[in-house]
């Protein structure tokens, strides 16, 4: 099939980040002293479980970052060039096509077969009654939803559990075989070691977490073909689909923000501490000024300015997706600018300490250039601070997105994000009975990601912080 690949700015940055991470991993592999703290992370059971969850999110986020435009159906007229739809889709959209296209009229509760609001309906005898109409897609296959639904859901759930256990057993067997082959012991001995939790990498907890995620994924995939498992929102869009799409937004804000601010924070922080004098004064002045403006207000001011700019220059943006993406990227940059001062201050302090070290004084005495000293001697010795702050910042940024969207200065209203989901559902709080599923879905997805990130970052910090390591 032909399609036109579309690389949005954030996509490009995401893949740049991916390449960087992979490159860094390869680099670390070869260096024993760099591997030591990572090995500690690898040994942690908490980190293993958290990592499985995080990788699931990352996988969904990456699938959602491969964008393209599908060709329009041929309408007979022979054209020299193929025409493409203006709608930018991602691989995730294609996978989740059933979720995306099965739109109801308005709100419906999770697993409902009827709409959430009454509608006028004309009976055969001409009288009008107000009933809850059946959904167009959710629970369509049932004749009598009230009686059949529970049994149907149970049966589908049982099938989902069976399938996922089957897959899981396969994965377990393959993994055990591979490990047994590498350790040169029998399959049975390896299985026993995993089962007893005696392996160095905590495979037992990893596989257990995998089973939970797999079960949920298969269950959701099976059931969401028949029902709206998390209900539908005001315009009838599937909430589960929205929550899935929001993953990318959350990840982009959590990672790209640090990526865009990192070069400045690292370079300027080290320069301030290493060169001191005028450079130090200027850099300190810049970051003190930026950090003295309350974060939300600086973001609000910048986003408002951007909004005015976009409204007055609509000609510069081709598609809606492009505009939304630009705003997302801009939000990352602004968040990066507000969060930049803390890391810069830390690095400045560390560089101040390091420049008095004997090995750096020796390098200076040998006439090694300043930038070479920074590159060879200072940068590697502050990398642990950078890494810790990157990992620690992530969860805070994901949470911040929701708050900013609520304030009205977050991502573009057309971008699906947990903040926008919460914001949209907030209007319905006064409704009775309450429309709770959008809120719950957004909070649960966000909570899982943030909790996993928090647990993982704790382990990373403990492994890399030299003060903690000594104890």
């Amino acid at each position: 099939m032909h399609f036109l690949p579309v690389v949005l700015p954030t996509d490009a940055l995401i893949f740049l980040l991916l390449v960087t991470v992979v490159g860094f991993a390869l680099y670390v592999r070869g260096k024993e002293h760099l591997r030591a703290p990572w090995r500690e992370v690898k040994r942690s059971r908490m980190a293993a479980a958290a990592l499985v969850v995080l990788l699931t999110y990352v996988l969904i986020g990456l699938l959602d970052s491969l964008h393209f435009r599908l060709p329009l159906p041929d309408n007979g007229a022979a054209k020299a060039e193929k025409e493409y739809s203006v709608e930018v889709l991602s691989l995730l959209d294609v996978i989740a096509t059933p979720l995306r296209v099965r739109v109801e009229k308005t709100y419906s509760a999770p697993f409902a077969a009827h709409l959430y609001t009454r509608e006028a309906d004309e009976r055969a005898d001409g009288t009008e009654v107000r009933v809850f109409p059946r959904l167009k897609h959710g629970g369509r296959h049932l004749q009598d939803p009230d009686n059949e639904r529970a049994a149907d859901i149970l049966a589908a759930s049982a099938r989902a559990v069976a399938i996922s256990v089957l897959i899981w057993v396969g994965v377990c067997a393959a993994l055990t075989a591979a490990l047994a082959w590498r350790e040169r012991i029998s399959f049975k001995a390896m299985a026993r070691r995993i089962l007893r939790g005696e392996t160095e990498t905590p495979w037992r907890i990893t596989l257990a977490t995998l089973l939970v995620i797999l079960t949920f994924a298969v269950w959701a995939a099976l059931l969401s073909l028949k029902y709206h498992i998390l209900g539908t929102d005001k315009v009838g869009q599937d909430v589960f689909y929205q929550a899935l799409k929001s993953i990318r937004t959350g990840l982009v804000i959590g990672t790209l923000t640090t990526l865009v601010m990192l070069p400045f924070a690292v370079l300027l922080g080290i320069m301030a501490g290493y060169f001191r004098g005028v450079a130090d004064d200027i850099i300190q002045y810049v970051y003190t000024t930026l950090s003295s403006i309350p974060g939300v207000l600086l973001i609000a001011a910048a986003i408002l300015s951007l909004q005015v700019y976009i409204t007055n220059h609509p000609e510069q943006f081709d598609t809606l997706a492009e505009r939304a993406d630009l705003r997302l990227l801009f939000l990352c940059i602004i968040l990066g600018i507000t969060g930049w001062a803390g890391l810069c201050r830390l690095l400045r302090g560390e560089a101040l300490k390091l420049r008095e070290m004997e090995y750096i004084q020796a390098a200076q005495a040998f006439g090694v250039g300043h930038f070479k000293i920074i590159w060879r001697h200072i940068l590697p010795n502050v990398m642990h601070i950078v890494l810790i702050s990157v990992v620690l910042d992530f969860s805070g940024l994901v949470l911040a997105e929701a708050v900013l969207s609520y304030v009205g200065v977050g991502v573009d209203p057309s971008t699906l994000s947990w903040g926008n989901m919460i914001n949209g559902a907030r209007m319905e709080m006064a409704r009775d009975p309450m429309v709770w599923w959008s809120l719950c879905a957004a909070f649960m997805f966000m909570f899982t990601l943030v909790l996993a990130a928090n647990l993982f970052s704790d382990v990373v910090r403990d492994a890399f912080d030299p003060r903690l390591r000594k104890q």
Binding site: I293, A301, V403, Y406, V407, V450
Partner: protein
């Protein structure tokens, strides 16, 4: 001491000038006043006359930094930069885009903000210290381990969830206090209660975990070992010696946020309909009232810098090791 404080205040001036220039650039250079007018009046079907009128009413019709048509000092004072940015230094906030006196609004609205932020801060402080001491007392036991895990779980919940959940549970289901609103005097208590509780609960996770590390750091020090060697009970060591010394970082951490309490909490106030500065700011952002946002940015950074100065002063007061430098 006075010389030290004066010097610190003088240091603040270039930073405030920087903030001022930055906001000026954001609001008037990136987007011209014409653009703002167009956004406010609706982008389409807007006549140049209407734009001119809108600008003249709000004083945006002057040149940006240099007025050619005026003479003498007025060449610099009769400009947008002077009127809208320089005058902020004397706390002359001017009028909002819909004609209200911003300075008056701020003076009126900072009290409700304070009425919520202040109790939330101090009750939260008390709760955090209590939990942190508890975990430090039971350190390296299951109580401590699970306490930390609980803290991480509480930290991972979005602040919005606490607010929405609290409102739903306490106001909608249990009908203990009204969902939102505000009243003056004693009547305000029932409106303040819920926001304060939610403010405390949402901060407990990160707060007690942070204080726990401070306590554990103190517990590892030599004087604690000496105190134990003298035969003091663990409780006395913890409450008398450790708590007193750990108060230094805790206190200074509190002092730095004290001035910012005036600004209130954006989210909390708008959810509970409290007429404080937080909801004022949010309303301004939603209405795209640039004058108010500009005033709040400046006020926020003044208060933040005031907090930093207070922190430094409080350091010298509570920690005899710190000398004025």
């Amino acid at each position: 001491m006075i010389a030290y404080i004066t010097r610190r205040i003088l240091y603040a001036i270039p930073i405030l000038i920087g903030v001022n220039l930055l906001t000026f650039a954001l609001f008037f250079v990136v987007n011209k006043p014409d653009d703002m007018a167009r956004v406010h009046l609706g982008v389409k079907h807007v006549t140049p006359q209407a734009i001119e009128k809108w600008k003249a009413e709000r004083g945006y019709d002057k040149p940006l930094v240099f007025n050619n048509s005026a003479s003498g000092a007025a060449q610099f004072t009769d400009t947008i930069f002077f009127r809208k940015s320089v005058l902020l230094f004397v706390f002359d906030f001017g009028r909002s885009d819909d004609g209200r006196d911003i300075g008056l609004d701020i003076r009126e609205r900072m009290w409700p903000s304070l009425a919520i932020a202040l109790p939330a801060l101090f009750i939260g402080l008390l709760a955090n210290i209590t939990f942190a001491l508890l975990m430090a007392f039971f350190r390296a036991t299951y109580i401590d381990v699970w306490g930390v895990v609980l803290c991480v779980v509480l930290m991972s919940i979005s602040g919005l969830f606490y607010i929405i959940g609290g409102q739903y549970l306490i106001s909608k289901l249990l009908h203990i206090v009204p969902i939102s609103g505000y009243d003056s005097g004693v009547q305000s208590f029932k409106f303040i209660l819920l926001p304060v509780i939610i403010g405390v609960v949402s901060g407990i996770g990160s707060g007690s975990r942070w204080y726990r590390t401070i306590f554990l750091e103190e517990i590892g020090k030599d004087y604690v070992r000496t105190a134990r060697a003298k035969g003091l009970s663990e409780l006395r060591v913890l409450f008398y010696h450790v708590l007193k010394n750990a108060m230094i970082p805790i206190l200074t951490g509190v002092v730095v946020v004290l001035p910012l309490l005036f600004m209130g909490s954006l989210i909390m106030e708008s959810f509970f309909g409290i007429p404080g500065l937080g909801s004022y700011t949010i309303d301004a952002i939603n209405a795209q009232d640039f004058a108010i946002v500009r005033a709040m940015v400046f006020l926020g950074s003044v208060l933040y810098i005031a907090g930093l100065i207070l922190t430094d002063i409080s350091y010298t007061l509570v920690d005899p090791r710190v000398r004025l430098g």
